[in-house]
């Protein structure tokens, strides 16, 4: 199956035969894509941790928490299409000593459920893990109602909440494992679930500590989530033009690794943030907040420029908004021309 055909489907729903076998994304087999490992990883963790509970809102088939449901039915709750109730009930469970993971589209937890995340999870300081999958514009032609290009901004302003974007399947595993020893509530943002592999193995991660994936002296791309892969490819393209580009996976949006941001400014002299999010309020804003207190340098936030995006297949949207590798390369070149 071609990439274009695969692109028609934003999610991974049941009723699609041979999905696991037939699809790969940029060389990553389907079995190593985030959408296929979420339920499995949670179920594996739950084998050893009785605190884990999984809740979803009529999307078990899309986020594959079906695997958790099948292996731990007594600890799985499908709340139907009632995300606010789900998130608040998760907080009630957390207050009884459990670690609930709620999973639904980012638009319906990071935006629709924002008050429940703030008031019931963050204000109370309870260890709820809100998983927002199919974030950004990865729902493509499903349109603005199903896009989440504001969730990082909303979640980032909530005190006491840890905000993390997952990069690929292995990184997702690492974040889920790390979450079991994290004492704060978390918003964990997942991409479309078809995010190609960046980490060949489950990486050692530290919440709040960025991962420098590539060294460079001319420019730093600070990026997060599904954009990390595109930025690495863009860095390769920039290298062909003689530009050595550092690439930083800023997986933790909050608390931000400020030292890594300052190092990028001091050591590479130009910073481009790349995110599948409105440029207002997300990673770019978080980095800008550090940089304006740091020093003057060529800096630009690249993402969605404060607009509701067009309808289209996801790959078309990434190209149009220059969030694919060629797009990021071009934006980087524009930034450097101004230096």
């Amino acid at each position: 199956m071609s990439e274009a055909e695969g692109d028609v489907l934003s999610g991974l729903f049941t009723g699609i035969s041979d999905l696991k076998e037939s699809r790969s994304v940029k060389g990553t087999p389907a079995s190593r894509l985030p959408a296929f490992i979420l339920g499995e990883e949670l179920a594996d963790l739950a084998d050893h941790d009785p605190r884990i509970v999984v809740l979803t809102a009529d999307l078990a088939s899309a986020n594959r928490t079906t695997e958790f449901r099948d292996r731990h039915p007594e600890r799985f709750f499908d709340f139907g299409i009632a995300e606010k109730n789900m998130i608040t009930a998760a907080a009630g469970m957390a207050s009884c000593g459990q670690i609930p993971f709620t999973a639904t589209f980012a638009a319906f937890c990071g935006i629709l459920g924002a008050e429940q995340v703030r008031t019931d999870c963050a204000y109370t300081g309870l260890p709820v893990r809100v998983l927002g999958h199919h974030s950004g514009m990865s729902m493509g032609f499903y349109g603005t109602s199903h896009h989440a290009l504001e969730d990082l901004a909303m979640m980032r302003t909530i005190a006491n909440l840890t905000v993390i974007c997952t990069t690929d399947a292995n990184h997702l595993r690492a974040v889920l494992r790390a979450s079991l020893n994290h004492d704060k509530p978390m918003y964990i943002r997942l991409g479309r679930g078809r995010d190609p592999e960046v980490y060949a193995d489950v990486p050692e991660i530290e919440i709040g500590k960025a991962i420098r994936l590539r060294e460079g002296k001319d420019l730093t791309l600070i990026t997060t989530g599904a954009q990390v892969h595109a930025c690495l490819e863009a860095a390769d393209a920039l290298a062909e033009k003689g530009i050595e580009t550092r690439v930083v996976d800023m997986h933790t949006i909050k608390p931000l690794d400020e030292a890594e941001v300052r190092a990028a400014a001091a050591e590479t002299g130009a910073v481009l943030t790349v995110e599948e999010h409105n440029i207002i309020g997300g990673l770019g804003s978080a980095v800008a907040e550090v940089l304006v207190e740091c020093e003057r340098l060529p800096f630009r936030r690249h993402g969605i420029d404060d607009e509701f995006v067009l309808i289209g297949p996801p790959a078309g949207l990434y190209a149009h908004y220059r969030l694919d590798a060629p797009g990021v390369r071009d934006v980087a070149l524009e930034l450097l021309e101004k230096r």
């Binding site: 509970v53 007594e74 600890r75 709750f77 709340f79 139907g80 009632a82 606010k84 109730n85 608040t88 009930a89 998760a90 907080a91 009630g92 469970m93 957390a94 207050s95 009884c96 000593g97 459990q98 609930p100 008050e115 429940q116 008031t119 019931d120 204000y123 109370t124 300081g125």
Partner: protein, 293 residues
């Protein structure tokens, strides 16, 4: 289980009446410190709070985090002023702490904060959340093999919130018999009668149709309240339990009964003294049956 943990089912009706009086008196006293407070919606729930905390709930103030305790979620968080003195009286904390009620840096604000106040099982204030919280607790108790009950007190105006019905639907679906919701049906929201502003009736039918077992009682009659508690079935799988308590907003202070003016207020001077004396005298017959300014 110790006697403390079973927490006195044997208390007399007179004792509970006295504790309801205590709740009203403390509400008036603490409001004076803050300069404004929710008198009338606390007064409507005074008997319910007294019966829950002094007779019904399985709690142990010496071990506030005891996993086997019953839990209470005050979904109508704005009557925390009536809960704080009860928790102090039971020994969860020193009553002296209430002298700083609402003052800068105090743990005790208009709405309860579980991180700051021992004995508060969940923070509240944003109406419509508490039933979902309680549902989560009830599911956890069941998963953990714990026979505790979860009590959730809601206001009637709060029932306008959509999330309440999400929670009601799911509690019925999941069959949380260990979940006991109480609606303080005091008839008024801020702008008027609930039935004029956004009608909530027929409540019995509505909750029954969502799969709940519903009892409807006089929420100021302590015998009726205890009778409803006694009728709650044991076990955590079956129907969630609803107690609709018909009450009078402002009950206990005649000038506040059914009055829209006293949702939030501040008694000063002779009014303050007169109200204290009226409360000390015990409940008089209700004089207002309709909403009034």
């Amino acid at each position: 289980m110790t006697e403390q943990q079973t927490h006195g089912r044997n208390v007399s009706r007179e004792f509970l009446e006295d504790r309801a009086k205590f709740i009203r008196l403390e509400t008036v006293r603490l409001t004076k410190i803050a300069g404004a407070g929710h008198y009338s919606s606390t007064f409507s729930a005074a008997e319910l709070l007294a019966a829950l905390y002094y007779a019904q709930m399985r709690i142990n103030p010496a071990e506030p985090d005891w996993a086997g305790r019953d839990r209470f979620v005050l979904s109508k968080g704005h009557i925390a002023i009536g809960l704080y003195p009860v928790l102090a009286d039971l020994g969860f904390y020193d009553a002296e702490l209430l002298e700083d009620y609402t003052r800068l840096g105090s743990a005790f604000g208009d709405h309860p904060d579980m991180k700051k106040i021992t004995g508060v099982d969940f923070s509240s204030g944003s109406l419509g959340h508490g039933l979902s919280v309680s549902l989560g607790m009830a599911l956890s108790a069941r998963m953990q093999g714990n026979d505790s009950r979860i009590y959730c007190m809601m206001g009637d105006g709060e029932l306008n919130e959509g999330q309440v019905w999400e929670a009601a639907m799911s509690a019925g679906h999941f069959g949380c018999q260990n979940l006991v919701a109480i609606v303080d049906r005091n008839q008024l929201c801020i702008d008027g009668s609930t039935e004029d502003i956004m009608s909530v009736e027929p409540l019995t039918d509505r909750f029954a149709s969502f799969g709940w077992n519903v009892q409807r009682i006089d929420g100021h009659d302590l015998d009726a309240i205890m009778g409803a508690f006694d009728a709650l079935p044991a076990g955590n799988k079956g129907k969630p339990q609803m107690i609709i308590a018909d009450t009078v907003k402002g009950r206990g202070v005649q000038m506040m009964e059914m009055s829209l003016n006293w949702h939030v207020g501040n008694l000063v001077g002779a009014d303050y003294d007169a109200v204290i004396e009226e409360i000390k005298g015990g409940l008089k017959p209700v004089i207002a049956t309709e909403v009034r300014p």
